[in-house]
């Protein structure tokens, strides 16, 4: 019972603190709007917010899909071809020294102000974490499994598909979780640098016009979206590795009241 109520109590508590700060400091509504005002704006401007949120969501989901696929394919290629690994891995590592945010203006220049440049931002920002997680997962197959597979006469293909790939699924799951939590950052930064739609654009625009309540409402929508995305991906990752859940849940279940 307490477990179900806890998130609600935490949320209400935070809102109360927020409202208290507004009351105590007497901040004007264009500096810090109270939660009630933000909620009111949220309901009044719902059609507008939903319209922009849809754009941002599309950018995030497309970026997530592309980045994950590219990362998975890269990791598989790196593991399969040793030559490729020796040439490509240093390039990958060095490329991470360039902040993705610094690339945003260039991406706008090349891909325009539309959807493509934001999808590219989200893709780029998750590509490396996903590749690294999958690559590590594929490399760290217990030697015993591979030796056993060899005594069973498994081809390299069978070893990859039936031993290495399933053994790497937990690592792939963590890569996916990281990707889900950073993909929204990529999309919103892309919108800040240059766009005419999306929640990032709406926030910048509202800020410039002193509509701080609208900005907060957009932020709220973004936060709910990011959380929903994270928990959905988390659910998918757990579905991919049912054996992990079963082996660890006994320990964790014992500790929770």
């Amino acid at each position: 019972m307490m477990r179900a109520l806890r998130p609600l109590i935490i949320t209400l508590g935070l809102l109360l603190i927020w409202q208290l700060i507004v009351w105590l400091t007497g901040a004007p509504r264009f500096i810090l709007p109270g939660p009630l005002l933000v909620l009111e704006t949220l309901f009044n401007q719902l059609p507008l917010l939903i319209q922009h949120a849809g754009v941002t969501l599309a950018e995030i989901l497309l970026g997530l899909l592309l980045g994950t696929l590219l990362g998975l394919v890269s990791a598989l290629s790196l593991v399969t071809w040793g030559g490729l690994r020796r040439w490509l891995l240093p390039v990958l590592v060095v490329s991470q020294a360039i902040p993705v945010f610094a690339l945003a203006p260039v991406l706008m220049l090349w891909l325009g102000y539309g959807l493509a440049s934001k999808v590219a931002m989200a893709t780029l920002i998750i590509y490396f974490p996903v590749t690294a997680a999958c690559f590590d997962g594929l490399r760290q197959t217990p030697t015993g499994y591979l030796q056993l597979a060899r005594t069973l006469g498994a081809s390299r293909r069978a070893q990859l598909l039936q031993i290495r790939l399933p053994a790497a699924l937990p690592a792939f799951g963590s890569g996916l979780r990281v990707a889900a939590s950073v993909a929204p950052i990529g999309a919103v930064v892309g919108e800040w640098v240059g766009s005419s739609t999306g929640l990032g654009y709406l926030m910048l625009n509202a800020n410039a016009r002193m509509q701080v309540d609208l900005m907060f409402a957009a932020l709220l929508v973004l936060a709910v979206m990011a959380l929903t995305l994270y928990f959905s991906v988390n659910l998918i990752a757990r579905r991919l590795t049912p054996w992990l859940e079963e082996s660890t849940s006994h320990a964790t279940r014992g500790n929770t009241p």
């Binding site: 217990p142 499994y145 030796q147 006469g153 081809s155 049912p242 079963e246």
Partner: protein, 264 residues
């Protein structure tokens, strides 16, 4: 109909001989010019302390010794290569955590080109799980099993392979003593009349299960004369002869004297 399991695999009786085996580790000779014969349908046990190169020797026979600097010629009495005809059972059960028990037993069939076990293979796997006493857990995941149960499944998987040679690398050393005795009994029953090479550092285990015991020790390591205990396996732990030989082997392993010097 009960699927055939324990009799000689496919009517093949193959003597296996390893000649001129040598192992080097960091420019240091662990053993050289070692000759080992594994007569068909006998259980041979290689006894020795850790670091003496037992596992490397076993991995050479299994064709998975690519990390170590080990060499040797392998001859089979039927003239065919040994590669791909060895069932390997390790100290760890090596059950794949994402596969159910029955699928773990079927792993050899699943990893083949078509990858789909036939109905007969499924029946055999079910029968083997019944032999190791885990029929009712066939669809469970390995995480739900105890260490002893998991090693039983590994034994079933080894039997499923039905190869002319079974190589076991300290298969029961990670188990508690009661489970170890139970699994030794089970293995002796299910692997009767098979050609087996087992590696162990436990003289009692060697004496309970094997037809021939070879001790590997020294610098560089050499193989002793074969000790051939009497009586049917598995021998009782309180058998007078077993206890006497155990004391002798322990003394031998601890002090490094040879079997010949020590014999009465």
């Amino acid at each position: 109909m009960v699927p055939r399991t324990t009799s000689t695999p496919g009517g093949k009786t193959v003597d296996i001989e390893l000649r001129h085996a040598s192992l080097h580790w960091q420019q240091h000779c662990v053993f050289s010019n070692l000759n080992l014969t594994l007569p068909s349908n006998r259980w041979t046990c290689l006894l020795g302390q850790s670091g003496v190169g037992k596992s490397s020797l076993l991995q050479l026979l299994c064709g998975i010794a690519d990390g170590a600097d080990i060499q040797g010629e392998i001859h089979c009495s039927d003239g065919k290569p040994l590669q791909g005809r060895v069932a390997w059972m390790a100290q760890q059960d090596l059950l794949l955590p994402w596969l159910s028990l029955i699928d773990n037993v079927l792993l050899g069939a699943r990893l083949q080109r078509n990858g789909r076990p036939s109905a007969e293979q499924r029946e055999l796997a079910g029968y083997l799980l019944q032999q190791v006493g885990l029929t009712d857990r066939a669809t469970a995941l390995p995480a739900h099993l105890s260490g002893g149960q998991r090693q039983r499944v590994a034994l079933a998987r080894t039997l499923f392979q039905d190869q002319p040679l079974v190589c076991m690398d300290e298969p029961f050393s990670a188990l508690d003593s009661i489970n170890r005795l139970r699994l030794q009994d089970l293995a002796a029953e299910l692997l009767a009349d098979r050609t087996v090479l087992m590696i162990t550092h436990d003289p009692l285990e060697a004496l309970r299960l094997s037809d021939r015991i070879l001790v590997l020790q020294g610098h560089p390591a050499r193989l002793s004369e074969a000790l051939e205990p009497n009586g049917a396996t598995p021998r009782a732990v309180d058998d007078a002869e077993v206890l006497k030989q155990q004391a002798r082997l322990l003394r031998l392993l601890a002090h490094g004297s040879s079997l010949a010097e020590d014999s009465p």
